[in-house]
């Protein structure tokens, strides 16, 4: 239980962005980069240098799972895509983090505020 409570602080902003990008549907590496770029209006550019380590960490924590795609597109030189999707634990952690931030924003200071 302790681990579960701490896990919301385990999630870096980059990890949170990657995890959220696969919330509704599975995506592959390049697609995640494009989704993050599009959602931020081009302000956040996730590089290949940080994407794969982030995906690896999330997979290791059990928040993501991956599978190989069946198609072998020509524009990839016949290489298959590796799709990532959020796990039940990932959904739970994201929801907990959102809840925590909402609670924090609505928290009344004991001294009545400034």
């Amino acid at each position: 239980m302790k681990k579960n409570q701490d896990s919301i602080f385990d999630l870096s902003p980059k990890e949170e962005a990657v995890l959220t990008s696969v919330f509704y549907r599975e995506r592959y590496g390049l697609e995640i980069i494009e989704a993050v770029k599009e959602a931020s209006g081009g302000k956040i550019k996730l590089g290949f240098g940080s994407l794969y380590p982030t995906l690896h960490k999330l997979e290791e924590k059990g928040y993501l799972e991956a599978r190989w795609g069946d198609e072998t597109p020509e524009e990839r030189g016949g290489a298959r895509r590796r799709y990532y999707r959020i796990t039940g634990l990932g959904v739970k952690v994201l929801a907990q983090k959102k809840q925590f931030l909402n609670d924090l924003a609505g928290c009344e200071p004991a001294w009545g505020g400034v």
């Binding site: 240098g49 380590p53 590796r82």
Partner: protein
């Protein structure tokens, strides 16, 4: 191409050679200056250090102007092509001058270490840059565009372990083709692909390091 290729190649080699000789003189002068300042600094020694530092910096500046001029002629698009290179070189000069003058005027022992490190690292970087430019212009640009990309991918395949080839290099290739389809200039596509390739190497090094640390922690 807005200038004669053969003439440009000859001129560039000459310019780069002048640049490299000047840089070597500069490094020798600075090493002497640093040695001089490290042993019991006093006013004559500081003046000697400044005396060594100023002409050497002038030489470097001259060499850089020559090199930039040479590089500038090789670009089809001079406006965008040289901007980033100039910025790097100017930053390096400013960094070495600011730190150099500050240390030359002060007498604190601890500050001589960053001074020496800043000077040596920035000049080593500039020297590498001049060699890199020569290799780039005389070797890499002589290879046709498609072959360059194929060679780069082959190099990445050599560096990265086979288990990452399909996913990582597939994504890289897809991005490369997307950029070409979007009509982005070739030099920019090559630059982005190069950065992406370096990013993949960084990812691999991170994973390697991460595994190593995990193993150490498990053992401990």
């Amino acid at each position: 191409m807005f200038f004669n290729q053969d003439r440009g190649q000859w001129l560039f080699k000459l310019i780069t050679s002048i640049g490299i000789i000047s840089l070597i003189c500069f490094i020798i002068a600075d090493v002497l200056g640093i040695v001089c300042l490290f042993s019991n600094p006093n006013l004559p020694k500081t003046l000697f250090g400044i005396f060594l530092f100023c002409p050497a910096s002038f030489l470097l500046l001259l060499a850089l102007i020559f090199m930039l001029y040479g590089g500038f002629q090789w670009y089809i698009d001079p406006e965008k092509g040289t901007t980033s290179g100039q910025k790097i070189i100017i930053s390096a000069i400013i960094a070495s001058w600011v730190s150099g003058i500050f240390i030359l005027l002060s007498d604190l022992t601890l500050l001589k270490i960053p001074f020496g490190s800043a000077l040596l690292s920035s000049y080593s970087f500039l020297l590498l840059l001049s060699f890199g430019l020569q290799v780039y212009y005389s070797g890499w640009l002589a290879i046709p565009e498609e072959d360059r990309y194929a060679r780069f991918i082959a190099l990445l395949k050599e560096i990265l372990p086979i288990q990452f080839h399909e996913e990582w290099l597939g994504d890289l290739q897809e991005q490369h083709n997307q950029l070409i389809d979007e009509g982005i200039p070739h030099w920019k596509v090559s630059f982005i692909t190069l950065l992406t390739g370096l990013g993949l190497i960084r990812s691999y090094l991170w994973l390697k390091f991460h595994k190593l640390v995990s193993r150490w922690i498990t053992r401990a």
